[in-house]
């Protein structure tokens, strides 16, 4: 019941018949709609795709190369290739999976172009970096550095399979589709990657 001296305000938006229809903002669109908008020439749609997927792409690239500068360059290359390839994107996989595939290809190509690891993993001897510092944070940080370096030393296919499985939580089948191999080969690569990492990291870090 309205109280005395107060008014009930009702706001009604009246649209003229000639007004253009209100379009949803890019952020509200799904990936498939964004791709379609890109192909219609709406550049803001591609900006939205970049904004939505840039962190995942960057993290994937970082896992491959282990440093910010290269990861940043590679991520840019991934999106540029995605832009070029959008007309060929059929939507058979999700946009995220498709970007994963491009990222892996870009990273593997970069790894082919760059100098490969100079010594085989089996010859690498674990260096004990056990510190006397009681700070658990420091230990964790050092352990992280060692793990990243060890991952960066893995052979290409093992590295790709491990990164996509452990860090991006993709199924073996999804990884097989991305890398272009069989599920069995993916499992073998993950298994060998873990075994090699154990040698590289050393028991005390595990």
């Amino acid at each position: 019941m309205p109280r005395t001296g107060e008014r009930d305000w009702k706001l009604t938006v009246v649209r003229q018949s000639g007004d253009p229809p209100v379009e949803p903002s890019m952020a509200e669109l799904g990936d498939a709609e964004l791709v379609s908008a890109c192909l219609d020439g709406r550049s803001a749609a591609f900006d939205q795709i970049v904004e939505r997927h840039r962190r995942t792409v960057y993290q994937l690239c970082y896992r491959f190369v282990g440093n910010h500068e290269d990861a940043s360059d590679l991520s840019q290359e991934v999106f540029l290739r995605a832009y070029r390839g959008l007309p060929k994107f059929r939507g058979q996989s999700t946009l995220g999976t498709w970007l994963h595939r491009i990222s892996v290809n870009v990273c593997l190509n970069r790894m082919s172009a760059k100098t490969p690891p100079s010594e085989p993993i089996e010859e690498h001897r674990h260096v004990d970096l056990k510190t006397e510092s009681p700070a658990e944070r420091l230990l964790r940080s050092e352990r992280a550095v060692r793990v990243r370096k060890a991952v960066a030393r893995l052979p290409r296919k093992q590295r790709a399979a491990l990164i996509l499985r452990v860090y991006h939580d993709l199924s073996h089948q999804e990884i097989a589709d991305i890398v272009g191999t069989s599920v069995g080969a993916v499992k073998a690569n993950v298994f060998h990657a873990l075994q090699n990492l154990r040698k590289l990291i050393g028991d005390d870090a595990v």
Binding site: D47, Q76, L80, Y83, V151, V206
Partner: protein, 208 residues
């Protein structure tokens, strides 16, 4: 007690069990080797999964998006300034015009060559041995083209004056091997005419 013929777990089984997608079979409890391998796999998986990617500066993401945007804009207009120094947008006119020009030049040359070699061809068709036909002098040919003042020819000439084969290839006006294809399909007389034209052109170039 372990059987002498106990079958150890395969790599795939070990991985599936370590990842939790397969239940641990009774064999694990009985086999110290498989149990140890499984423990190591799990320990490495935990150690690896705990490692995060360092978060870049908050400013990085906006900068990154801007970089991608710039790269995409460059990508969208890869050759705007490469066509005869024309400004943005005018390449849409220049490319078809140049394609038309190139096609016209080819037609003119072929038509000219055929006209020059028509009598010799008929002799060849009669299977009579003929001595090498005297090559037509370039002076017979070029004045007709250059002195015609045909506006379409002058337009073509202006457009293609500075065009090299790389530019034409890049623009898709010709494909790799198209020149070889064209030459390999010329008749003997057309080839002789072409050779004479080239010689005359070279001689004129050396004289100037």
């Amino acid at each position: 007690m372990q059987s002498k013929f106990m079958k150890h777990l395969s790599r795939e089984e070990l991985l599936d069990i370590a990842e939790g997608s397969r239940a641990e079979p009774p064999h694990v409890a009985e086999c110290a080797s498989c149990r140890g391998e499984l423990q190591e796999l799990r320990a490495v998986m935990v150690a690896v999964s705990e490692v995060d990617v360092p978060e870049p500066s908050p400013l990085f993401w906006d900068h990154f998006s801007a970089r991608v945007r710039e790269a995409v804009v460059r990508e969208a207009a890869p050759s705007r300034t490469r066509w005869f120094g024309l400004g943005a947008g005018s390449w849409r006119i220049a490319v078809p015009a140049a394609a038309l020009a190139a096609a016209t030049v080819i037609l003119l040359v072929v038509a000219f060559a055929r006209r020059q070699t028509a009598p010799a061809s008929s002799v060849t068709a009669a299977a009579q041995p003929v001595p090498s036909a005297p090559a037509p002098a370039l002076s017979d040919a070029l004045p007709r083209l250059t002195e015609s003042r045909d506006p379409s020819f002058m337009f073509v000439s202006d457009l293609t004056d500075d065009m090299d084969i790389d530019t034409a290839l890049e623009a898709g006006l010709v494909s790799d091997g198209s020149a070889d294809h064209a030459i390999s399909h010329l008749s003997d007389d057309e080839l002789r005419t072409l050779a004479a034209l080239l010689k005359a052109q070279l001689a004129a170039g050396q004289a100037s």
